[in-house]
């Protein structure tokens, strides 16, 4: 009995060792030709990172005009909405104009495209502008809060994607409200000097999103009632993992 068992296990082990090889090669072939050459080229390109990133010194306004035109044309084809000119979509433009009329140069419109607006503000003004957006423009909740690390520009950006349930005109719209803070080079977990005002009093729904942003990028949100870790383990002692200088092993 025992001998037969051992032979069986050996067989299965052999099979196990064989299987992954065959499946790997099969999947690579069958998937498509793209991934195989892709990996080799990605490594090449990642080595050339400093050359590319050092070139664009202008922070925000440079990419904006490129964006406005390029995806705009596709959107029209997809949705079939009647926006015949290459001009900016009217409704989105009017929303952005309302904000710029009220706040002037404090609110910088980064892009306007079909159903999407992005506004960059300084962190001192974000609370005023956010409460205006909630009270006057009827955006009532935050869908997502994404923190983005820009080590080359020495800043960390936080983008609030705001939407509206109550106003039927706005149901398609997403307003991205972005602000940024100077990047602390050596973050001390929990006591960072990268600080931003919390929008939790204005948009209640950002509570957990800001907690996530806090642990993942080391942005401390002032006035947030609950600046605690959310997803990471309690004994995490490394730098915040979504910063660009935190690298995955072997990559």
């Amino acid at each position: 009995m025992s001998s037969s068992d051992t032979t069986e296990t050996k067989d299965t082990k052999k099979k196990r060792t064989r299987k992954p090889r065959t499946t790997k090669s099969k999947t690579k072939k069958s998937e498509e030709p793209t991934p195989a050459p892709a990996e080799t080229t990605t490594t090449e390109i990642s080595t050339t990172v400093p050359d590319e990133t050092s070139a664009p010194a202008e922070p925000e306004p440079a990419p904006a005009p490129v964006e406005e035109i390029a995806p705009e044309t596709e959107e029209k084809v997809e949705t079939g909405d009647v926006v015949p000119q290459v001009d900016l979509p009217k409704f989105e433009k009017s929303l952005a104009d309302k904000i710029t009329q009220k706040f002037g140069s404090k609110a910088e419109v980064a892009y306007i495209k079909q159903d999407r607006i992005r506004i960059n503000v300084k962190k001192e003004d974000i609370k005023d502008i956010a409460s205006y957006i909630r009270d006057e423009l009827n955006f009532d909740h935050a869908e997502s809060v994404s923190g983005v690390d820009y080590p080359d520009e020495n800043k960390i950006e936080v983008v609030y994607h705001l939407g509206s349930y109550t106003d039927p005109d706005l149901s398609k719209q997403i307003l991205a409200l972005a602000t940024s803070a100077p990047r602390e080079a050596d973050p001390n977990p929990g006591r960072d000097s990268t600080r931003l005002p919390s929008l939790r009093e204005i948009f209640y729904s950002v509570e957990f999103h800001e907690r996530e942003c806090f642990e993942m990028l080391g942005v401390y949100f002032d006035d947030h009632p609950d600046n605690r870790r959310l997803l990471l383990p309690e004994d995490w002692a490394d730098i915040p993992p979504l910063r660009k200088d935190f690298s995955i092993k072997g990559r």
Partner: protein, 377 residues
């Protein structure tokens, strides 16, 4: 005693009436997450959700892989609903790369994603049933779910983790003779799930356990930014398939299901009603689909986008699922932020559980249509 403790540790004075319970992270009643619950006798005084037990860093991993190699790992948060989690990613990447999806691929995508929505919802329904002590409701959906898994296996080759959507279309065309098989299975499936009303939704046990528990008012549902069935059970008619139709949803015939009372009993049938709508969508899409044509556009080996930032969202089985993809003229995305319905609905757990009986905790928790793995990403 206190003098001997190391500096970081502190002892707290505890109210003798209040007891702290750790529900999870391995407790089957909570899924893979921990709920730190404080109880006074039988009643919950406070609840602190603690997700992250299965956090896998999908967003970090996505920054190291190119747009194509990101596909198989980005679906991992919800393997039962993998088409719907890849959907916003593909839409976003298509906008970044400037791809136009062929008409037939759009219909194939809708069919696959609706099948996937049903597969996920059946799984959720099975677990919801078993945690309410209704073991038939565990067996039936688990069995009926196989019908649709078979269909998806025919299309994609895998029972779950399909990795079927790619930027620019879908990986492969539907198999020959698929329309007939699909129509037959979906019709039978619809007939089966209609029987759930008798066994589950009209069942006095379910009604007594869920009615008037965990009430979320319309105002709070909006204020807390909830989404999906939680939002629609509180009287807000918001479904992204209707409000911001992507691909071909605007051509298809379906309706959204809204209930007003906002309690656990209202939250339970909404995903089930959505499945009935999904069957309608699939039949309609099969009818309107172009019978032949390409299903994907050919991509360059290592596609690059410009300096673009895109936010696209779809309606998944658990609500809105958004992807914020930032491209910086490289083959890899600079940042991928996944905003999932489960994570957004997490915030209402402390509100709903406060003041409930501990025994009602599973009923409230699972009625939220919450998938811990997705929330952790």
């Amino acid at each position: 005693m206190t003098a001997q403790l190391p500096p970081g540790l502190q002892l707290e004075k505890v109210d003798e009436r209040i007891m702290t319970l750790n529900v999870g992270p391995q407790h089957p009643g909570s899924g893979h997450m921990r709920l730190i619950i404080q109880v006074d006798g039988d009643y919950i005084v406070a609840c602190d959700p603690d997700p992250g037990y299965v956090h896998r860093g999908e967003e970090k991993m996505a920054e190291y892989r190119n747009y194509i190699t990101n596909i198989p790992h980005l679906e991992r948060p919800v393997i039962h609903d993998s088409c719907n989690i890849l959907y916003p990613y593909c839409l976003a990447v298509e906008e970044i790369l400037g791809l136009e999806v062929p008409e037939r691929a759009k219909y194939v995508r809708v069919i696959a994603s609706e099948l996937n929505r049903c597969v996920y919802t059946m799984y959720w329904l099975a677990i919801y049933g078993i945690f309410l002590g209704h073991s038939t409701m565990f067996m039936w959906p688990t069995g009926d779910r196989e019908l649709l898994i078979d269909l998806l296996e025919k299309i994609t080759g895998a029972r779950v983790t399909h990795a079927y959507f790619v930027p620019g279309g879908v990986r492969n065309d539907l198999p020959a003779n698929f329309e007939d098989v699909c129509l037959r299975q979906v019709n039978y499936f619809e007939k089966r799930i209609k029987e759930y009303a008798d066994i589950f939704y009209d069942n006095p046990i379910l009604i007594s356990r869920t009615e008037n528990t965990g009430i979320l008012s319309r105002q709070d549902a909006i204020r807390l930014g909830t989404t999906g069935s939680v939002l629609r059970a509180s009287g807000v008619d918001f479904d992204i398939r209707k409000k911001e139709p992507y691909d071909v949803y605007e051509n298809l015939d379906f309706q959204t299901n809204v209930l007003q009372s906002g309690d656990s009993y209202a939250r339970s049938p909404i995903p089930w009603l959505d499945m009935l709508e999904s069957c309608r969508i699939i039949r309609d899409a099969l009818k309107k689909m172009p019978k032949s044509g390409a299903v994907r556009v050919k991509l360059k080996p290592n596609p690059k986008g410009g300096d673009v930032e895109v936010y696209r969202r779809v309606e998944s089985g658990r609500g809105a699922l958004g992807m914020h993809v930032i491209s910086k003229s490289k083959p890899e995305p600079y940042r991928v932020k996944i905003s999932v319905g489960s994570f957004r609905n997490l915030i209402c757990m402390p509100y709903l559980l406060r003041g409930e009986k501990l025994g009602n905790m599973p009923a409230v928790y699972w009625s939220l249509n919450y998938w811990p793995v997705e929330a952790d990403r």
